[in-house]
């Protein structure tokens, strides 16, 4: 197990998301979302890595909702939680949670939670999230979550319902300063991140930063 600060973890997830093919801005959001969920102890990031693998194979474009339409008729397959989350976060105060919002076939819905915290910050509402495998209440700075099976499982796409919560989060998840990653998850993320690197030829290395091979200073 490798031990990471949240900042280092976010940077790794950002690079992995970019390596999976997200544009830079979405990759930044993916890193933020992964860090937010991981430091609250609700994920070991195995499903995040698996999601990125899927994005890398199919492309994020196919996981994008059409304007304002979140049902399965309006996208081609599982919807991306990062794209869905940024859309909700971008709309902020424009989201009417008095009317229940149903998002069908959402991949890895736990990664929506960070963005709902942003929405909560903008609207001053607490947001109830209901999915087949978990229920949660999100505020700007807190998360209460319970898993239907007592523990979280690698998630298949689920239909998620969002609504205004009556109460603020009660049993708030503690926020950790460090997160450990299992070797196989770390390997998956670093492999994806490595797709953003350029293998340097001798010619490139000769032109890069730095001085002579022998230090004469």
């Amino acid at each position: 197990m490798s031990d990471f600060s949240i900042k280092e973890l976010e940077m790794l997830c950002l690079k992995a998301a970019r390596g999976a093919g997200y544009p830079w801005g979405l990759a930044e959001e993916a890193g933020f979302s992964a860090g937010w969920a991981a430091k609250r102890g609700v994920t070991d990031l195995a499903d995040f890595a698996a999601h990125l693998q899927a994005v890398g194979m199919h492309g994020h474009e196919k996981m994008t909702p059409k304007q304002g339409e979140f049902d399965s008729q309006h996208h081609f397959g599982p919807m991306c939680p990062i794209i869905m989350g940024t859309y909700l976060s971008d709309r902020g105060r424009q989201i009417d949670l008095q009317r229940t919002v149903v998002v069908e076939e959402l991949a890895c819905p736990l990664y929506l939670l960070a963005f709902l915290a942003s929405v909560s910050s903008a609207t001053d509402d607490w947001i109830a999230v209901s999915a087949p495998t978990f229920n949660a209440v999100v505020s700007a700075d807190g998360l209460e979550i319970s898993f239907v099976h007592g523990t979280r499982l690698l998630q298949a796409p689920e239909t998620v319902t969002l609504s205004k919560a009556e109460f603020r989060p009660q049993a708030v998840q503690p926020v950790h300063a460090r997160v450990s990653l299992r070797p196989e998850v770390l390997e998956q993320l670093t492999t994806l991140a490595a797709r953003t690197y350029v293998p340097e030829s001798d010619e490139l290395m000769a032109a890069d930063a730095g001085g002579a091979n022998v230090d004469t200073d």
């Binding site: 600060s5 900042k7 544009p23 979405l26 794209i83 424009q94 200073d217």
Partner: protein, 562 residues
């Protein structure tokens, strides 16, 4: 003193140009200087609780700095490096010394753990108890000369010391959240770390003490009977060298709000001083003293870089003109600093202009030092995009703040020749030629702000002006990071370098110098257009001297002035 300004801040279109940023000098708002002022003000205490070095200078040392609330310790591992492995490049895997800054005072268990990780640097993992890792190499030009001289009972040659300026040169100082180290979140409630890069600067400050101790140790072990310690008059002439390359350059692009706050503080300081109606005799005298010191010390600013050598030559000529101008009573009229700045901007080159910016704020600590508390930023607080902003409003921002980019012909190959990428070998930013690198895939770093903003501006034209940006981004997620930047403009007008960083003539060196000037670096000695050597803390008091001397009167003292 009043902090209102009647003189406006210099506009971002003037300040945020590469050539000007690349002419910045250290100032009293630089982080090394604010660190020393704080430690002096708070009466920090220093000790060296561990020093276990053998005859070859191999071993471990610990330097502890005790502040009012907590302590920090620099853990130093000193090695016996085969000279053939002393590479000047960042691809090196071994160094003469490796360091980490520990949170508190390490026990033997901590030292044992760190001894297996810190010498490996990027290949090792430190923990939540560490804030930085760094390494340094001995100066081939000076280190052995100093050891041999001291061992022989003699003092080293002063001219040789001044020609180099340091015994060891760091090749990297990695800060928060890297390679397992604690992230800045841990520092949130620590006043001593509230200003930027304070713990990284503390690391370097303590490394400087180590460099003196290790040469004296080696001299003493080499010749117990004859060895002498460094003469106090020479000690301060040693700073810490640093070799900085491209890894630092994209930092300025990746942290727009932070860079805004650095530059904004400097510009606000300048505007406050320019707004003063009169200059007191004491302030005029202090300005004259520092100008005089810099003028004399400029001859010790050595470089083998032809471009920088020409700039120094021009600076020396400008300093001569400036001194004549001051001697004619330029500071005796009303609004003296404003008049002086206007004259300097009209008559002198960029190096001199930016030097004068640093010099005029020097006498006014009570007017400008509070700005240091504005130089940090919570970047997360500005991360969320306002998706309700309309396409029209975003276009207005682009027209107003990115006009410089819209005027560039990006079809001209020279406008896009540079290609920034991350090296697989070192996981560090590098820059190469687009013609070579673009065929390898979409591997370009998000440095092409001007080009991509121009692309976004074209895409925006296809959308009705009242469309919320949230809708635009659903279809154009490739511009998401640019919308985030553009939305910072209102609150952070200095957040963007207003030049095409891809152009064949763009100098990465200018970005390095900008950042290093805020650190407080001196003696910029470029070795190419993409890396430079510098000196840090040269002439500063040592930890053991800090309690009994002025903490902030060292940066314009060089050579025979010290």
């Amino acid at each position: 003193m009043p902090t209102c300004t009647t003189v406006p801040l210099r506009p971002p279109d003037v300040v945020m140009r590469l050539a000007r940023l690349g002419s910045f000098h250290q100032s009293r708002l630089s982080f090394m200087r604010s660190l020393l002022r704080r430690m002096k003000r708070e009466n920090w205490a220093f000790s060296r609780p561990v020093w276990r070095m053998d005859d070859q200078g191999v071993g471990v040392g610990v330097y502890t700095a005790r502040g009012p609330s907590r302590s920090y310790s620099l853990v130093c591992f000193s090695h016996d490096l085969d000279p053939s492995k002393r590479s000047d490049r960042s691809i090196a895997t071994e160094w003469d010394a490796t360091f980490t800054l520990f949170d508190g005072v390490p026990d033997e268990h901590d030292l044992e753990r760190l001894s297996h990780q810190v010498p490996r640097q990027e290949a090792g993992r430190v923990s939540d108890s560490e804030f930085s890792i760094s390494r340094a190499n001995r100066s081939v030009r000076l280190f052995e000369h100093v050891v041999a001289s001291l061992a022989a009972g003699q003092q080293p040659d002063r001219e040789k010391i001044d020609a180099v300026g340091y015994l060891m040169r760091t090749t990297a100082v990695y800060g928060s959240g890297k390679f397992g180290a604690a992230s800045r979140d841990k520092l949130a409630d620590r006043p001593e770390a509230s200003q930027p890069f304070q713990l990284e600067m503390l690391s370097v400050y303590l490394i400087r003490a180590f460099t003196i101790d290790i040469v004296e140790h080696l001299a003493q072990r080499r010749a117990k009977k004859t060895a002498v310690r460094l003469d106090p008059s020479l000690r301060r002439r040693f700073g810490v060298g640093n070799a900085t390359g491209l890894g630092m350059a994209p930092f300025l692009v990746a942290h727009p709000a932070l860079i805004n706050n650095w530059v904004s503080a400097r510009e606000t300081a300048l505007a406050r001083v320019r707004s003063l109606e009169k200059a007191g005799n004491r302030e005029i005298a202090r300005f004259g003293q520092l100008l005089n010191r810099f003028t004399r010390s400029c001859k010790y600013w050595n470089t083998t870089d032809q471009r920088q050598a020409r700039r120094i030559e021009q600076l020396q000529a400008d300093l001569a003109k400036l001194n004549i101008h001051i001697d004619t009573g330029a500071l005796c009229e009303d609004h003296p600093w404003d008049r002086l700045y206007e004259w300097v901007e009209a008559e002198l080159g960029l190096e001199a202009q930016e030097l004068v910016v640093s010099l005029v704020i020097e006498p006014y600590g009570n007017l400008v030092d509070d700005l240091l508390d504005t130089m940090s930023v919570d970047e997360r607080a500005h991360f969320v995009i306002d998706g309700a902003m309309t396409v029209d409003a975003l276009q207005d921002i682009v027209q107003h703040s990115y006009g410089w980019a819209l005027d560039i012909d990006f079809d001209d190959p020279a406008s896009q020749e540079k290609y920034w990428y991350v090296s697989q070998n070192k996981l560090e930013p590098r820059v190469g030629k687009r013609a070579t690198l673009a065929p390898l895939g979409d591997l370009e770093m998000p440095i092409a702000i001007g080009r991509d903003i121009a692309g976004m501006a074209r895409a925006l034209k296809a959308w009705p002006g009242t469309t919320p940006i949230a809708e635009f981004l659903l279809h154009h997620s490739e511009y998401r990071h640019l919308v985030r930047r553009a939305q910072l403009m209102d609150a952070f007008p200095y957040c963007e370098i207003r030049d095409n960083l891809l152009h064949t003539d763009a100098l990465p060196l200018d970005m390095l110098r900008c950042k290093l000037s805020f650190f407080g670096a001196t003696r910029f000695d470029p070795k190419s257009d993409r890396w430079t050597r510098i000196t840090m803390f040269q002439h500063a008091p040592y930890p053991e001297d800090l309690a009994n001397c002025e903490a902030d009167d060292w940066t314009y003292a060089q050579g025979d002035v010290a």
